[in-house]
């Protein structure tokens, strides 16, 4: 196990910069998720950690050792790829033991290590199969097994669940989290799925355009997003964000709807007003809205409504029967309202 330190790391392809002076520290044994939309540089950063991409500037340290010019095999890391990257001509056991074979370990040691890892992941019955004979979930487990066998200091996961169906993704998510809790090995996990990031990580790094937007614990990011990007990226359905201005202690949206300001911020100025779908309730007093679509999910009801000209999403815990076109009155929980400047920076 080891800590990972990323210090002012830059990456550019020719004259095009893709990672801009990123810094972060990952504690020993921590599970950190890099999350962001496609092209935000999260996979590139992970590949730089792995040694698969050169570093244009800055320093990466693993367990205190600068690894900028250290070959991937010398970094004592293991990586799980999106496509699993299993060697198609090797059996599961050969795939898992390949790194040890290259290290020159004897057959008995390799077999024992492979068997131990297979026991952890319940891969025992699959050891003699070829990857093409496995299902997606099984391949994913083999890819993890290959990483575990090496007992590395750091695990790197590059969108490992993207190729699985939704149900299997949930199962594998729990398996990876359980595995981390058992092995307690430092893990860096890249995903574009904020649910994955929220449910698995000790800390989340939200990235956009090669920059870090915010680093924090999942609920910290959810409850106090640093800017509008994080506010709308984290959480599903996304936070409702209304543009407008503060007028006489109220926030008036561009559509002319007046929303109550949080306590202590009546005098503040803000250009965007955010409220999560579950922090809006249907009440007797509030702002008038009209129901557009009702989506009952069983455990909750998702409602899309019109607040003036703007769309607004609600998540209601109760099974309320609403009809499209029905007028409702919405009241935001003013303790959970988020205010942002014109540049999208949080002000409250």
């Amino acid at each position: 196990m080891a800590s990972v330190s990323i210090d002012q790391v830059r990456k550019q392809y020719g004259a095009v910069p893709v990672i801009h002076n990123i810094s972060m520290n990952i504690e020993d044994g921590e599970f950190v998720t890099l999350v962001g939309p496609s092209g935000c540089g999260k996979s590139t950063l992970l590949r730089m950690l792995a040694g698969l991409e050169d570093i244009s500037g800055g320093e990466i340290r693993i367990d205190g050792r600068v690894v900028n010019d250290v070959a991937p095999k010398e970094r004592d890391i293991a990586m799980v790829f999106q496509s699993y990257a299993l060697y198609p001509h090797m059996t599961v056991a050969e795939n898992m033991g390949f790194a040890l074979k290259l290290k020159g370990q004897d057959r008995a040691t390799i077999e024992k290590s492979v068997r131990d890892a297979a026991d952890i992941l319940a891969l025992g019955p699959l050891l003699d199969r070829l990857p093409k004979q496995l299902s997606g979930g099984q391949r994913q487990r083999v890819a993890m097994g290959r990483a575990i066998v090496r007992q590395p200091q750091v695990y790197l996961f590059d969108e490992p669940l993207s190729n699985l169906d939704a149900k299997l993704r949930v199962t594998m998510r729990a398996e990876i989290k359980d595995l981390h809790q058992r092995l307690k090995t430092t893990t860096v996990y890249v995903t574009h799925d904020q649910i994955e990031a929220m449910t698995m990580a000790d800390r989340i790094v939200v990235m956009r355009g090669g920059n870090v937007e915010q680093i924090g614990r999942p609920l910290e990011l959810y409850d106090r997003p640093a800017n509008t990007f994080v506010a709308t990226f984290i959480g599903s359905p996304a936070m409702n964000l209304f543009e407008g201005a503060t007028v006489n202690g109220q926030f008036v949206t561009d559509g002319g709807v007046a929303l109550p300001m949080p306590e202590g911020y009546q005098g503040a100025t803000a250009a965007a007003y955010g409220v999560r779908p579950e922090h809006l309730t249907i009440a007797d007093k509030g702002v008038a809205a009209t129901v557009v679509v009702v989506e009952p999910t069983g455990s909750e009801t998702h409602v899309l409504a019109k607040l003036g000209p703007a769309d607004v999403n609600l998540v209601l815990r109760d099974r309320i029967h609403l009809q499209p076109g029905q007028p409702i009155t919405l009241a935001p929980d003013i303790r959970r309202v988020h205010l942002f400047t014109a540049h999208g920076i949080r002000t409250n």
Partner: protein, 313 residues
């Protein structure tokens, strides 16, 4: 009072126009396929099937007053008794034995080189493919000049490099050298095709496998051995088989440069067949040779199928 219209079964309503539409489409498809099928039948299928029949007759090239007779397997027996046929078969086997490593090796090496991220990569890919789209006749004329004895460019270069110690080689006139010369020019002309196949094979190997191998600790040679080579197994099999089939059909180079000589050292099965059919005008006999060649190629193709299945990882 309102009369209720008896409802037509939904399927009846739906299927009648659908069936008509299907039939219309079927005619359309047949109409579009017909020209190609007709041409293939007239120029490929009928001659192919006829050759089996002709092989068992004494059919001459030019019709004679005497009727064509069915002679059973006589042509085949005659072929098997002809030393020149066995020589030609031995020669194409020799040619195949040499062309496989030379041509496939050259194609593989070039493909590996052009798979690298080199500047002007696409330009060089096109350049190296040029011989493959050049007519074999043109290639033969050029290489015939290069091979000239005793003052052709090859001999001059060899003479210059050896300081005159190595005597000029009669590339095409010496029975010991003639087939080797044909191998060289054939490999040069045709390796571009195999190179493209190898390039496609190389591009089909996911980059992530190389990344995984690097993380697993594989050096460049180990990555080549454990990722590239297994990834190219089906490609290798395909290239080897296709090259073997092409080699067994060796004709143009021999017809232009050596006419099977010197002393039958470059006689090939196809050249033997063409001579029997068009010079000796024994169409039945030539057809029998073509049937034998077809069976040889068929066996190779079947072996290929089996091998491809086995190596399809």
């Amino acid at each position: 009072m309102t009369l209720q219209q008896p409802a037509l079964p939904a399927t009846a309503v739906a299927t009648r126009p659908a069936r008509r539409r299907d039939r219309g489409r079927l005619f359309q498809e047949i109409g579009m396929l017909a020209p190609a099928v007709a041409l293939l039948t007239i120029f490929l299928l009928v001659p192919f099937l006829l050759s089996f029949w002709t092989a068992m007759t004494n059919q001459p090239l030019v019709p004679r007053p005497t009727p064509v007779r069915f002679i059973g397997l006589t042509n085949f027996l005659r072929i098997f008794k002809d030393d020149l046929f066995w020589t030609s078969l031995w020669n194409v086997s020799r040619f195949t034995f040499w062309i496989l490593p030379v041509q496939c090796g050259l194609a593989f090496a070039t493909a590996l080189l052009l798979h690298q991220k080199l500047p002007l990569r696409n330009f060089f890919r096109g350049l190296f493919f040029l011989p493959a789209i050049t007519s074999m006749v043109v290639v033969c004329v050029i290489w015939g000049t290069l091979f000239q004895y005793p003052t052709g460019p090859f001999n001059q270069v060899i003479g210059f490099l050896s300081g005159g110690d190595i005597q000029p080689i009669d590339w095409l006139g010496d029975p010991n050298w003639a087939m080797f010369s044909i191998v060289l020019l054939s490999a040069w002309q045709a390796y571009g095709f195999q190179m493209i196949v190898y390039l496609a094979g190389l591009q089909g190997i996911p980059d992530e496998l190389y990344d995984a191998a690097r993380i697993d600790g594989a050096n460049a040679f180990q990555r080549f051995w454990h990722v590239t080579m297994p990834g190219l197994r089906p490609t290798h099999v395909f290239v080897l088989i296709i090259t073997t089939i092409q080699a067994f059909k060796l004709y143009t180079q021999v017809a232009i440069l050596t006419q099977g000589g010197p002393r039958s050292s470059t006689e090939t099965v196809v050249h033997y067949m063409v001579r029997a059919g068009f010079e000796e005008q024994k169409l039945g006999y030539a057809s029998a040779v073509s049937v034998i060649l077809f069976l040889i190629v068929l066996v190779i193709a079947l072996v290929q199928r089996q091998l491809l299945r086995r190596f399809d990882v």
